[in-house]
Amino acid sequence: MNRDSNTYTIVYASVMVVLVAVVLAFTSQSLRSFQKENEENDKRQQILRSINVQVQANEAKAKYNELIEKSFLVNEQGEPIEGDAFAADVAKAFGQQMYPVFIARIDGQTKYIMALSGAGLWGPLWGYISVNDDCNTIYGADFSHAGETPGLGAEIVFPSFSRQFAGKHIFVQGEYKSVAIVKPGKSATGQDYVDGISGGTITSQGVNKMIFDSLQGYVRFLTSQNQ
């Protein structure tokens, strides 16, 4: 067999591509249900972390069902609309002016959990932020990222960063201000602020913008809850 002939090369390439495609498709299909469950548990863990509850992946479902009373989507006017808040892709939902809300009850207190979606240096950022029943004071927050630099931007996932948000206010004298992320040592006037990540400036700015933009969609919902 002449290995340098055009026919051999073309046949070889075609067979290889088809074989690899079949193997990959089979792997993907047969593992899909496991992967979906992992993803859902991961999402539950993120939501629970935003109300300061840390659980293992295998306990996430039980704990989530225990603490989260209900979840729904709201529109920009703060009115509930049709849809599944948990299954919704946050970035897509935001694009259609739909905002997922999760209501948790902890020690008899109501906490409102809202979804966040934005962009960092290398890829998407997302997270969840919860507020007390005054709809102003932050109770907890949790951030995730797809590909920020380890040791720099990727530090946003750690509690040392997210814990700073507890007790901060998103409204100042009734006006929506969000919470600013500033360079460590600097401050912001007229709004609450937390320290960003040293060396992770672009990611920190991304989180800053993500919180501002995402919570903006919830402003009507939060103010209507408060009356």
Binding site: R3, D4, Y8, T9, Y12, A13, M16, V17, V20, V23, L24, T27, S28, L31, F34, Q35, N38, E39, N41, D42, A57, A146, G147, T149, P150, G151, L152, S198, G199
Partner: protein
């Protein structure tokens, strides 16, 4: 282990005298990207070892059938398919590991060590030798990554594997973590220092 001398040479050569990073100068790009912490360095070292070893075996088995003109494409397809399968399996059964790896999966495919070993070794040697060669080169690469990760995390963040190791009193005496260590250029300088130390201990590797 009943390894012949030749097999032993293939396996252990890349640890020092034929190290992929500090002698062959392969895989420098990922050595810079992932070594700001020790943990991702270890994970990356293991993943590259697994992928190089198996890709080497597959290419070695196919070596007498691959058309010469598209051999690089065949190598790439094998490497990319293998990495994708590993990533899918991890996503299903070790989700946390996969989340850490997500950044590196792409880096493994483009890792020059992978293509370098497939092209230079697996195309001309049997499956067993190729497996050992992949294992040796992966481990030799991982070794350098771990050393760089160790120094960068220790001096850059004052931690190892996320645990603080520099005593609190040092900070009270005025010790400050060196933020420069976390930035990519320092990885290049650490690699250079390793090469310097290695060459000064192995005079035969020095070039005039």
């Amino acid at each position: 282990m009943g390894l012949s001398n030749k097999s032993k040479e293939i396996l252990t050569g890349p640890f020092s005298k034929n190290n992929p990073v500090i002698i062959q100068m392969l895989g420098i790009c990922s050595a810079l990207a992932v070594t700001s912490k020790l943990e991702p360095s270890i994970v990356m070292g293991i993943s590259v070892t697994v992928v190089v070893a198996f890709a080497n075996v597959i290419i070695s088995l196919l070596r007498n059938t691959i058309p010469n003109r598209i051999r690089i494409i065949v190598q790439l397809v094998v490497a990319a398919a293998l990495v994708t399968i590993v990533s899918e399996v991890l996503k299903a059964f070790a989700f946390d590991v996969n989340k850490q790896l997500s950044v590196f999966v792409g880096l493994i495919v483009t890792n020059c060590i992978l293509m370098g070993r497939l092209e230079a070794f697996a195309l001309g040697n049997g499956p067993w030798e190729s497996f050992l060669d992949g294992l040796g080169n992966g481990l030799g690469y991982g070794l350098i990554l771990v050393v760089i990760g160790f120094f960068r995390e220790l001096f850059g963040s004052g931690t190892l594997l996320g645990y603080p190791v520099i005593p609190e009193v040092f900070y009270q005496w005025g010790y400050v973590n060196n933020g420069l260590m976390i930035l990519p250029p320092m990885a290049l300088i650490v690699v250079a220092v390793i090469i310097w130390v290695h060459r000064s201990r192995n005079k035969d590797l020095q070039e005039n």
